[in-house]
Symmetry: C2
Subunit: 339 residues, 2 copies
DNA sequence: CTGTTAGCGCATTCAC
DNA sequence: GTGAATGCGCTAACAG
């Protein structure tokens, strides 16, 4: 069906071993012969059989992308970035999704399906427990985490504590002292989660204000708008005197804004709101936030994985850039729609 | 490193051929032996080598997912659906992205990279020209299209003309007669594109109103908010008397709403706006739209591909459900935020 | 610099 | 029902 190395070898009047060497551009082939073979192979439309190559070398040139969702801003972008970063180096990306809902736990990771199939694994925004990490490690291929990390493996992400601090400093500077927090999920089980880092940033800022640390000003939620709305109503029912709400993500923050609107409160005037992410919608609704670039993080995690597979040392953490974006929701700016 | 068929065979006291048969559950193995081997293989942690299996059978149990982006609502959801649909049948999904921008054309499809790597191809939301389709067909594996289709291949999608008609009927029912249209890209080259179908729906409705067909009431754009904004300003500068704007997608429609807001026009009161998609944000901004379910379309396209790979006939088109969702932007409902 | 040989791990004849 | 032999297409080790 397809032409094989042998076909090319026959046509070139050399052995298949030489063709193999020539096509891999090994230095041990006479330059002229090499060029001749490469040209011929191209003309014949020869394409290597990845399976045969893998069988012979043990290398698949494929990496596994493990992720809970693809239909969310953060995840879609890191996946896109990672795929791009891998493709550039001629690696294939195998996609594995593990749907999480607040109601039913996601399916557990079964690393068996990755066996002999990938040269490395990128764990994108997935919270794995120790047991899962251990079984992943059994695959004996490099692993890079993105987002919720692991203390023993290279983790790409942002300084979540720092991001929260940026927001809190901004709100405090505007005169706010009673600042509620809508936290993300997984804070109890995973102290390394972004949610936990952002929560600590909020808590630390509250403490430094010499205010009593009031965890009653906090609600834990999953990452969706509806959760943000629910949490806001609960929070304001209990503490109507809050003047600002810092949500762990923009999506939650937008839920907050909707809830405030339902209660007849004017965002940015009656009460300040801020999030983290700077996703597209943030600009539209005028949300103050901390910008991060998940696409760049995806590319970066791919690069680190390739390094690790090349046997190089990789740093334990790699933090992407963040930047405070001030918009109308925190009350400094009064126009609703900006560009 | 891993245990092989031979290892299991040795431990079971049978030949590797028998193990191979037993693990594939072929009927030609004595039931008792079969169970014994399956149990043993499981205990030994045996995992098949996909490459070796592929080399022997020619089947990769992998399909290629070709898509322009993953970081957009429609694409993220079809990818998620397709991956899920494939995983359920133990197929792997290989992700290939082809970034498109209005400025630089995307890289052309080079099907060579898919050679010997996939048993089938899902073309998700990608506009391929005839040459690309021809080279894809050379791979000699089944192909299913999702979104912009191809007249010779099974295409999953929605009735774009019908969706536009739903919107137009709704607007006309509300009394509108001067309805502008913000169309999507690729209408010229590809008459099979969703953009083209929606445009025809708009045009046909305009005609049936016995209005002069006025293509001056139309602007062609790429699928992003900024385009929608730009187009709106252009449209209203030229035709300030329009009372409604129908945008080809929600994202464009949201751009329209932003532009109207900039011009001091009140959406739903001064001017009606409608889109197509019903993405998450549509609810938040109160956008009237036609709901479609890209996730279900992704699952469906995976099912059809699996059928095709099994040698079954597949219908030329498979249309997903659509439904008109009336919200404040078309002026019927006056509250801004609903649930 | 190049060819020969052997083997990666499986599925498939063809015997028995 | 089961086993032995062969080949899928490539790379690696060893000669030369």
């Amino acid at each position: 069906m397809y032409s094989s190395l042998d076909d090319v070898a026959r046509a070139a009047g050399v052995s298949s071993a030489t063709v193999s060497r020539a096509l891999r551009d090994l230095p041990s082939v006479k330059p002229e012969t090499k060029r001749r073979i490469q040209k011929l192979a191209h003309e014949m439309g020869y394409v290597i059989s990845p399976s045969a190559s893998n069988l012979a070398t043990g290398k698949t040139r494929t990496i596994g992308l493990l992720t809970p969702w693809v239909n969310r801003w953060f995840f879609a972008n890191i996946i896109e970035g990672a795929e791009k970063g891998l493709r550039q180096h001629n690696y294939d990306a195998l996609l594995y999704t593990f749907h999480e809902t607040p109601f039913e736990p996601r399916q557990r990771l079964d690393p068996q399906v990755l066996r002999r199939r990938v040269d490395g694994v990128l764990v994108l925004g997935l919270q794995l427990d120790d047991e899962e990490v251990a079984s992943l490690a059994n695959l004996d291929v490099p692993i890079i985490f993105l987002g919720p990390g692991h203390s023993k493996y290279t983790t790409v992400g942002i300084d979540d504590f720092g991001a929260a601090t940026l927001i809190m400093n901004h709100l405090v500077e505007l005169g706010h002292t009673k600042i509620g927090h809508i936290a993300g999920p997984d804070m109890e089980q995973f102290t390394n989660s972004p949610s936990a880092g952002r929560y600590r940033g909020w808590r630390s800022a509250v403490q430094s204000l010499d205010l009593p640390v009031d965890d009653a000003w906090r609600r834990d939620q999953s990452f969706d708008q509806a959760s943000g709305m629910r949490a806001t109503h609960g929070l304001l029912d209990a503490h109507p005197d809050l003047t600002a709400i810092f949500a762990a993500t923009d999506t939650l923050a937008i839920g907050v804004m909707r809830a405030l609107s339902q209660r007849g409160l004017k965002v940015g005037t009656d009460i300040a709101v801020a999030g983290i992410d700077d996703e597209e919608t943030a600009k539209y609704v005028g949300l103050t936030t901390v910008r991060q670039d998940p696409r760049a993080q995806g590319v970066r995690s791919a690069q680190l994985l390739l390094s690790a597979m090349a046997g190089e040392e990789t740093p334990l953490t790699d933090l992407g850039e963040i930047e405070l974006i001030e918009r109308a929701s925190s009350g400094r700016i009064s126009v609703r729609f900006m560009d």
